[in-house]
């Protein structure tokens, strides 16, 4: 018998094992990352037409779709369930859109797959029934009269559709899908409180803009090459609109006729003896003339205002015409922003009266 020497098996050192495990973990982690998009086909060619989109109006609804027979367990359709909900996703709890009423709806017309009648109605649900019959993949349209529109214009709403082989929308569904729409004011409804945006600018303001002090100007005084001229102003904004507000600063840099003190294009520290004009919206201690400006005073309830990053660094100033300087992402009950202005000038700056007009524009977000 041949005597074999035991093959030498080199064992992995413990640190190699750790590295290998970590590597596998990371590879595994990144392998599953990323996203992919794909369309889910249920009922096809789904569509909703509302004859009048005015909130609370009694109007005609037309629901269109094509039955999808690909991969379904049966093509026999005996009923259709139409649930009117705020949210289109079938698995979610159905919250009825405020104001909507389909309890008096009538089925006034049907094309494509026909033979349906209304089996039952509630405030937000209609069940159509017929003798169970095989459905073809033909576009079908169901027209309902006497539906009362939702009154809430702040959200879209959906009709969740599903069909069943049974006559009462029970058992396992065959197809599903949703259609969405929304109601919009085409004229003003006086009873509805509209969103409001309030905005003010002055030397000093309060959150509600009910008190403004110091006038709508601010003074830098005389300019000297070895001293930074600095001043502040304030602005306040508030809105009950769900998208919040945004404030931009607009206007040229400070100038005297054709002689211009250039604005700082990027956040830069104040440097005496150089021609500089800039602003920011935070508390500063440079230039060394005592505290300059202050930090944003946000709404006490649901604070969501921010100063944009370029104007949010202490002791660094810049100014670009049209820049967004601050915004709020949602309902904001009042925020005060303090704007600090600095001007430095070179010794050879042409004498003159240097001025500018900066217009702060506050708008809603979409």
């Amino acid at each position: 018998m041949q005597r074999l020497k035991r093959p030498r098996v080199s064992l992995l050192p413990h640190h190699t094992v750790v590295v290998e495990l970590l590597f596998l973990l990371l590879v595994g982690a990144f392998f599953v990352l990323g996203s992919k998009a794909s369309a889910v086909i249920r009922f096809t060619d789904r569509m909703l037409y509302i004859n009048s989109a005015i909130p609370g109006a009694t109007t005609m609804y037309q629901v269109s779709f094509t039955y999808n027979n690909t991969g379904v367990y049966t093509t026999t359709v005996g009923s259709i369930d139409m649930q009117f909900c705020e949210d289109p996703i079938p698995d979610d709890p159905c919250v009825a859109p405020p104001g909507l009423d389909v309890s008096h709806a009538t089925l006034s017309n049907q094309t494509g797959e026909t033979g349906f009648s209304i089996l039952s109605e509630t405030g937000n649900e209609i069940v159509l029934t017929r003798s169970p019959t095989a459905a073809n993949e033909t576009p079908s349209v169901y027209t309902f009269d006497n539906i009362v529109n939702p009154t809430d214009t702040t959200h879209s709403f959906a009709i969740r559709l599903s069909d069943y082989p049974t006559t009462d929308a029970s058992g396992q569904l065959i197809d599903l899908g949703s259609v969405i729409s929304e109601v919009t004011n085409s004229i003003e409804i006086d009873t509805q409180v509209p969103p409001i945006l309030i905005f003010c600018v002055a030397g000093q303001v309060n959150k509600g803009c009910t008190q403004e002090y110091g006038g709508n100007y601010t003074d830098l005084g005389d300019l000297y090459p070895d001293v930074t001229a600095a001043t502040t102003s304030q602005m306040a904004a508030a809105t009950n609109a769900t998208n919040g507000f945004v404030i931009t600063a607009n206007g040229p840099t400070i100038e005297a006729g054709t002689h211009v003190i250039p604005a700082l294009a990027t956040p830069t520290v104040s440097a005496e003896g150089n021609n500089q004009f800039g602003i920011n919206l935070v508390a500063n201690d440079d230039p060394d003339i005592g505290p300059l400006g202050s930090n944003m005073d946000d709404s006490d309830v649901a604070p969501n205002a921010v100063v944009m990053p370029n104007y949010d660094t202490a002791n660094e100033y810049m100014y670009n015409d049209g820049d967004v300087v601050a915004q709020a992402s949602g309902v904001n009950l009042g925020t005060i922003f303090t704007v600090s202005y600095i001007v430095n000038n070179a010794p050879d700056l042409h004498p003159g009266v240097y001025t500018t007009t900066i217009t702060y524009i506050c708008s809603g977000r979409f």
């Binding site: 035991r6 640190h15 789904r46 709890p93 709508n216």
Partner: protein, 367 residues
């Protein structure tokens, strides 16, 4: 005469010297700090209309002067706007010679050009939009800008302007085309104003989930839908039933980010059995209660204009929540496992040390 000439020359020289050494100065030295004209106003931030071709809609604008001691003089003008970035910040075309956009409402709007409002008063003005019969279906939008007067005093005159965004939908068959660009966890500390997508969150659980849609159609789109968040064991840990609860719009041509909180202040209060008052905290994100691990988010959104096909977009995204403390613990555990394997192998090696392999009879201890 010569003496007079010398005197004038000397006087001019002195004047020149004085002027040249004078510092640059304020426009007009202010003598009082009393507000000379109001720069505080209240307006409606947004108007939405559905107007058929050939139809005119007349509506009212309500504007308030917030200053109770000064009058407010406003000039009103219709201007165009588009998007600034992926957010809902409008980019206003303020220049007088700005060209009309393809979606402009300027030619169809009748608006007063100025308005004076007394201290603390509110005024209502009429304006109208007429859509021509031959205008195609789609979305049209412009903005009304209200410019307050500015001061002639001081170096920096301040102006306050407000803007109302006006959106008109003209019914009919439109071109709708939203495509999903990105979907996943979103790290933001300011409710989505700034932030970025994240695949491995190590600085804390991500507060938001976001999706980015490109609008290549000819209408503004307001998608609606649901996001479901599951942990690595398949358990649903979060469900966002309103993925666009602020009615955010994707403007024509815009690639728009829609970011939504995984948990809000209001939802946490509800979980604890409380009730939120006046929707407070509905849109304020809080840190969700996630344990470290792999998460799967599923997106299902729908969009479609009235009378047009409803479109559906679905997607799945994954992200890891691996806080630094967890990574540290994991590393220690892995090191211990590695050490254990090494120790066991060493033991096994010691066990078989000195053994020989006999073909057909396996390993036997050397005598």
């Amino acid at each position: 005469m010569k003496r007079l000439s010398s005197f004038i020359s000397a006087a001019l020289s002195v004047l020149l010297l004085v002027v040249s050494t004078m510092p640059a100065a304020a426009a007009t030295q202010s003598t009082s700090n009393v507000a000379n004209d109001s720069a505080g106003l209240s307006i409606e931030p947004r108007k939405n209309y559905v107007i058929n071709p050939g139809q005119t809609v007349s509506d009212k604008l309500t504007i308030g002067n917030l200053d109770t001691s000064s009058g407010l003089s406003l000039s009103l003008q219709m201007i165009d706007f588009t998007y600034t970035d992926q957010s809902g910040t409008p980019k206003l075309f303020l220049a007088a010679n700005a060209p009309l956009t393809a979606w402009s409402l300027k030619p169809y709007t009748t608006l007063p050009s100025s308005l004076d409002i007394g201290p603390g008063e509110t005024k209502t003005i009429n304006y109208s939009i007429t859509i021509p019969k031959n205008l195609g279906a789609g979305s049209y939008y412009s903005a009304i800008i209200y410019r307050s007067g500015t001061s002639n005093e001081g170096n920096v005159a301040l102006g306050a302007s407000g803007v109302t965004l006006v959106f008109v939908s003209v019914p009919g068959t439109v071109n709708e085309n939203l495509s999903l660009q990105k979907f996943g966890a979103y790290e933001s500390t300011d409710n989505g104003v700034t932030g970025s997508y994240v695949y491995v969150a190590s600085n804390g659980a991500p507060q938001m989930i976001a999706y980015t849609l490109k609008n290549a159609g000819n209408v503004t789109e307001e998608p609606a839908g649901t996001i479901t968040l599951k942990n690595m064991f398949g358990k649903t840990v979060g469900s966002i039933s309103k993925t666009n609860d602020t009615q955010a719009l994707a403007l024509i041509g815009q690639t728009r980010l829609f970011a939504t909180c995984i948990e809000t202040q209001a939802s946490q209060i509800t979980k604890l059995g409380g009730v939120t008052v006046d929707n407070q905290g509905v849109n304020t994100c809080v840190t969700p209660h996630l344990i470290p691990g792999l998460y799967t988010a599923k997106l299902d959104i729908l969009y479609g204009q009235n009378g047009n096909p409803t479109h559906e977009i679905t997607s799945t995204a994954h992200f890891w929540y691996l806080p630094w403390w967890f990574i540290l613990v994991l590393l220690i555990v892995l090191i211990l496992i590695g050490f254990g394997i090494w120790w066991l192998q060493r033991k096994a090696r010691a066990l078989v040390k000195g053994t020989t392999y006999h073909s057909g009879s396996g390993v036997s201890r050397r005598r």
